[in-house]
């Protein structure tokens, strides 16, 4: 996370945090923290507890819900909706990998090769943010429409035959298939991959590339042994910033998918806002949260960058 917004290091070394002892203002930090922390406690942490409690309640909308420690809700939710869970993980993982593969060249281009175009390209990467992402996602309906130029080209090249055989598309259609949903997810979260990648690539000293070249490393070797390892912090925070929101997303699956591409976000949304089955919705949301936290912790440990905050 930090890599996204971190400022360059100061020109002058800063004094250590233990400066002169502050006699006055022993309570100042607490006053500064109080309002914001209260806000997060009441509207972020407390709801989690309410949600956990709701997930073990039974009852009905008319008669009200009571905590009965009915853990079977979790079991039922998992056995009913494991395909949607699995699909969410698969789609989010596919979108994350695609974002990395597509985003890396662009981040590299901005960091090392863009020259005086750098700022302009940067603006073009960020500016779509300011058009509502729902409008932009709807545009994919036009782009991937049946009989449109994209589908036509893929058909002529027999790409759709292969993807249909893999189960990613259905016949002559791209819309309402897994491919469309993954394409939308990739598109929506691509900037979240590019920006952290760019920040960490930009910090790499260009002379390291020259040194690698002087030592007879071919460009591919230079990339594999020098550039990529040094950009790891960006890769880690980029993949997290892509995977986490993608796994809980229901907008792309709803707008570009079909009933066969429903993700866990869609289930939670329907259970909560249409079916009004609060315990099941809360249990599903709790499982999603636990799974994400588990994966994120494991991933951060493995990649050895724990100072993300």
């Amino acid at each position: 996370m930090a890599t996204l917004t971190e400022a360059p290091p100061p020109l002058v070394p800063t004094a250590p945090e233990t400066g002169p002892p502050r006699r006055r203002g022993r309570w100042t930090p607490y006053w500064l923290l109080l309002p914001g922390m209260l806000w997060l406690l009441v509207f972020f942490a407390l709801p989690m507890i309410y949600q956990a409690s709701t997930s073990v309640q039974t009852g009905s909308l008319e008669e009200g819900y009571k905590v009965t420690w009915h853990f079977a809700t979790y079991w039922d939710a998992l056995s009913d909706y494991w395909p949607q869970f699995l699909r969410s993980v698969l789609y989010a993982a596919a979108a994350t990998i695609l974002c990395l593969v597509l985003g890396y060249p662009l981040a590299y281009l901005i960091a090392f090769r863009a020259g005086r175009w750098r700022n302009l390209i940067m603006v073009l990467v960020i500016a779509p943010f300011f058009t509502s992402f729902l409008i932009r996602t709807l545009a994919w309906k036009t782009i991937l429409s049946d009989g449109g130029p994209v589908v036509g080209a893929l058909n002529t090249l027999h790409v759709l035959d292969v993807t249909s055989w893999l189960g990613w598309t259905a016949g002559d259609r791209v819309l309402a298939t897994p491919l469309a949903v993954v394409c939308g997810l990739t598109y929506n979260f691509l900037p979240f991959m590019i920006l952290p990648l760019y920040t960490s690539l930009e910090r790499i000293d260009g002379r390291l590339h020259e040194a690698a070249g002087d030592l007879y490393a071919r460009p591919v070797t230079t990339f594999r042994k020098v550039t990529f390892p040094l950009s790891m912090p960006g890769v880690v925070s980029g993949t997290l910033l892509t995977f986490i929101p993608a796994s809980g997303d229901y907008v792309n699956a709803e707008l570009l998918g079909s009933t066969d591409t429903r993700m866990i976000g869609n289930v939670i949304q329907t259970q909560f806002l249409r079916v009004l089955d609060y315990p099941t919705a809360a249990a599903l949301s709790f499982i999603l949260m636990a799974a994400i936290l588990f994966m994120v912790t494991f991933y951060i440990r493995r990649s050895g960058t724990e100072d993300l905050v």
Partner: protein
């Protein structure tokens, strides 16, 4: 094999530009289709050129109302999140206090949580409290999820500040308040501005959390979502295109101004 060699040398540039095209393609489609005159209720297929929607952007009932509501919410959410977030960022960088670890994780967690989880759990709280869903619940939710992003942005800037500047101010007999207003705040301003901009963009474009906690209130993203089911008016594309152009214009102007200022300094 000059062509192969050229391709090898330019591989990164070509791949990068292709990704950029992928990123911009929907915006181009949105712009082009803002000049469409669709036959049915949905604006997904090109029929014929028409500038009607541009002449009457508010011609669809509820559209401009939702837009102004979104702008209001984004404004207040930005204000609230920036104030609270800046205070937290200063406390984190400048002071030592107990439970720092707990504070840091409480700030990190909202950013590491799928939106739908926060949305659903917040709705559980509101339902349990019997709160009336609407403007205030949306605002509360938006301040909540924007807060962490503001903290990260401001913290980065404050961390890179040289504390000796403030010490110098105090050596020159500036009081604590004077030091804060005349030295600390101006230096931290770019970080605060970046945080505020991020908060505004996040709040204005938020759909998932709003979808859960809005009740029957319709923000602009909610309007677009509803129209995706009922029929998409061309005016949506007009608004989308206008927002894109305004954003690009603002950024480019600020870049030009910055460049000029840097040149003057040099």
């Amino acid at each position: 094999m000059p062509l192969v060699n050229w391709f090898k040398r330019k591989f990164v540039v070509i791949a990068g530009l292709l990704t950029l095209a992928y990123l911009l393609l929907p915006n181009i489609v949105v712009t082009v289709f803002s000049f469409n005159e669709p036959k049915g209720r949905f604006n997904y297929e090109w029929q014929q050129f028409s500038a009607d929607a541009w002449k009457d952007p508010c011609g669809v009932s509820g559209l401009c109302g939702s837009l102004s509501l979104s702008l209001q919410i984004a404004f207040w959410a930005t204000l609230g999140a920036t104030a609270l977030g800046t205070m937290i960022a200063f406390a984190l960088v400048r002071y030592r206090f107990r439970a720092r670890g707990a504070v840091s994780s409480l700030i990190f967690l909202p950013m590491a949580m799928p939106e739908v989880v926060m949305a659903a759990s917040l709705l559980t709280l509101f339902l349990n409290m019997g709160a009336q869903l609407g403007f205030w619940t949306i605002l509360i939710a938006h301040i909540m999820f924007c807060l962490s992003f503001v903290v990260t942005a401001v913290k980065a800037r404050v961390m890179s500040m040289d504390p000796r500047l403030e010490q110098a101010a105090q050596d020159l007999y500036a009081g604590p308040l004077q030091t804060f207003w005349r030295v600390t705040l101006p230096i931290a301003a770019p970080g605060i501005a970046a945080g505020a901009l991020l908060a505004f963009a996040l709040s204005f474009d938020d759909f998932i959390i709003t979808n859960f906690n809005a009740g029957s209130t319709v923000t602009f993203p909610m309007f677009v979502w509803g129209s995706a089911q009922r029929g998409t008016p061309v005016q949506i594309n007009v608004i989308g295109t206008a927002m894109f152009l305004v954003a690009v214009l603002i950024v480019l102007t600020s870049m030009v101004v910055n460049n000029r200022r840097n040149k003057q300094k040099a």
